[in-house]
Amino acid sequence: MKKILLLSCALLLSSTAHSQLRVVASTTNMAMLANTVGGTQVSVTHLAPPDRDAHHLAVRPSMMTALRQADLLVSVGAELEAGWLMPALQGAGNPKLNPGQLGYFEAAAQVTLIDPQPQADRSQGDVHPTGNPHIYLDPPRLARAGLALAEAMAALAPEHGDYFRHNAASFAEQVDTQLPHWQSLTQNAAGVLLYHADANYLARLLSVPVLGYMEPLPGIPPSGRHLSQLVSNLKGKAGVLIMPTYQPARAATLIEQELGWPVIVLPSNVAAGGTSDDYLALIKRWAQAFAAAQKPAGNPQ
């Protein structure tokens, strides 16, 4: 009898597990968004570890296994993951996730992108022609994408539509509540030197000038010539260098020595399994990092 009870319990559990939407997120930020919006009605896996450059990832068979079993794919989009997600998707043979189907969701397609470069060619580096795809470092845009994601999930599981919409709306509310706080942190921020153009949305949102990029061109590692040019351009100015976790620190030390700027290494994704609180905390860390270099007093711009 006990056995039967246990068995039926297990069956019940497994059947509830199956009624959940199976979501595959390209990055851990997207997994955070899917978990935030989907709550208890989704089970989410991610493909790119948080400490990797999502532009460049190698396809793994386990990606195809995950995509094969998924009901919904949540990606950043705007070609950010094109090099590995499209072949993985093709290899997975899951028609539910084909672009145009209900199971395909690109966050970047839900919002306006900044800096589109339709005229760009590859001599300008690995540019993103439709605009900057790194919207995950822009809480209001991500919240907007969350609202759209709620509708995408609602289309797949209409019985939980209101639940998804409620979750997405409360995430957007959280972002709105935090925004003035972040903005107050960066009120007098002098400016930031980025490695790649991935925090431009956040810098705009918090009115922090972007003073330059360590990459001479998108996707190209820093060259000595580019660095010395940066140093001569920025000499005497105040600023902070923010480096991604996956790039070597060597080039950063030159900026540190030559300009005397603080160098802060920050992840751009929440840890695996990260929640919306972790995400908001990450954005706060970025805001604090922006604030690490203040405008000289009595010299408001």
């Binding site: 990797r52 290899g91 043979g93 145009g100 306006t112 709105d176 903005q183 996707g219 070597p248």
Partner: protein
């Protein structure tokens, strides 16, 4: 806009407008940049709208050999001491040579099909259709059908285009057992990816049989058997090794229902008629260090194939049968290679090639097919890839080929300097 997509797009657009209006009310107005107008709410993808995807691969080599390299014994054309042209390596001449210029176009035809076409302009010998196939995109249960001309999914390297290789040249076993383009044929493929936590993929192919084992090299005496003549099957397994490691193991095999070959020399005609089969195993392991630009990454891969052709050999001179016997040609080969990213954007690799470890060829001897020694090739390369779109490679080969006359004194060295660039779309690299 595609009629299939329109209702969905309209729905999404409506939803988004509502969402946007809502967000507007809720104090996101602090940043004017967000609410700039002109965004196409009906978009499904924010990616490139370019459809079809077009890319062009340019590939050139400067090669230098210490001496003339003749093909490994037992795999070449039947030598009667005539003045045969001995190529160095496939498509490689001493000095500068332009290799395959590949033009690849792919697109979604509709919701049901993708289309892929790759043309290869080979040096100066004309245009060849490398691949031209349609692939289903909406079959249920993890099933996919491919039809047209394509690279077979047997083994690991066979389906890769030359610009995906880690070395400048194709492994000997692939070239000598399947053809100078590998197993590339017209036909159909059915594959299945079951929905399990463990990756596995199974497939069968029905092919016309243009390549070695099912080829019909007939002239005046023999008649061609109609196709399809080659049936293959493959299975691939990949355990989930986490984010940093990946491995795949494959098994493949095939049956040829007809092999025919005819050679004429003055008054003499030689005929082969039979059938054949092959079987092989392949394995690949990849380590991703997480460092940028491939630094610290490893790729180790290897394949082994065995091929048997049972054939009746007949030699006819002035309409009289001079010699006739039945025999089995049994040949095999392997390669094993390792690649290591020793610095950002730099990688180095070593490869060992071996063919004819079992080497009963199709060369007629005394009432039986002749056997030869094994041949080996050793390669080392260093590559620099400034971006994912360009690569420079320096490769050194050492050829230790057995010769037809049993003589082994034919060691040779080769040096190749290769460039390989792609124009257009992002390369989509399968595992």
């Amino acid at each position: 806009m595609n009629a299939r997509i329109f209702p969905l797009a309209a729905m999404t657009a409506g939803i988004l407008l509502v969402g946007a209006a809502q967000a507007n009310n809720e104090a996101t107005n602090t940043n004017p940049a967000i609410d700039s107008t002109g965004v196409d709410r009906a978009r499904i993808s924010a990616g490139t709208q370019m459809n079809p995807t077009i890319s062009v691969i340019l590939d050139g080599v400067y090669a230098n050999f210490s001496r003339e390299v003749e093909g490994p014994a037992g795999f070449g054309s039947h030598d009667h001491g005539d003045d045969h042209d001995h190529e160095h390596e496939h498509g490689l001449e001493e000095g500068f040579s332009l290799r395959e210029t590949e033009i690849s176009v792919s697109a979604s035809i509709d919701n049901y099909l993708d289309g892929v076409m790759t043309l290869a302009i080979e040096g100066n010998s004309g245009i060849k259709v490398e691949e031209a196939y349609i692939l289903t995109r909406s079959l249920p249960a993890g099933l996919q059908i491919k039809a047209g001309r394509f690279l077979s999914d047997i083994g690991y390297i066979n389906r890769q285009h030359p610009h995906d290789w880690q070395f400048a040249d194709r492994p000997l076993v692939s070239e000598l057992l399947f053809g100078e383009h590998g197993l590339q044929d017209n036909g159909m493929q059915l594959s299945w990816l079951p929905s399990t936590s463990f990756y596995s993929r199974y497939g069968i192919e029905i092919l016309q049989g243009e390549t070695t084992m099912a080829s019909q090299d007939v002239h005046e005496t023999l008649e061609e058997d109609h196709g399809p003549r080659l049936y293959t099957a493959f299975a691939k397994f990949a355990p989930d090794l986490g984010m940093n490691h990946a491995a795949m193991f494959g098994f493949s095999g095939g049956i040829s229902t007809s092999f025919k070959k005819e050679e004429e020399h003055d008054d003499e005609v030689e005929l082969w008629e039979g059938d054949g089969w092959f079987a092989g195993i392949d394995a690949v392991y990849k380590y991703n260090s997480g460092k940028p630009f491939g630094h610290g990454n490893w790729i180790v891969q290897g394949e082994y194939y065995f091929r048997e052709i049972s054939a009746e050999f007949t030699e006819i001179e002035n309409q009289i049968i001079e010699e006739q016997f039945s025999g089995r040609s049994k040949q095999d080969g392997f390669y094993l290679q390792a690649l290591y990213g020793f610095a950002p954007r730099w990688s180095t690799g070593l490869r060992v090639d071996g063919v004819g470890l079992t080497n009963t060829s199709l060369e007629p001897g005394n009432d039986a097919f002749e056997s030869f020694d094994a041949s080996y090739r050793y390669a080392a390369q260093v590559s620099f890839a400034p971006t994912e779109f360009s690569r420079l490679r320096l490769q050194v080969n050492n050829y230790d080929y057995a010769h037809d006359d049993g003589d082994h004194g034919h060691d040779a060295w080769g040096v190749m300097l290769q460039y390989n660039v792609s124009l257009g779309a992002h390369g989509a690299h399968q595992f």
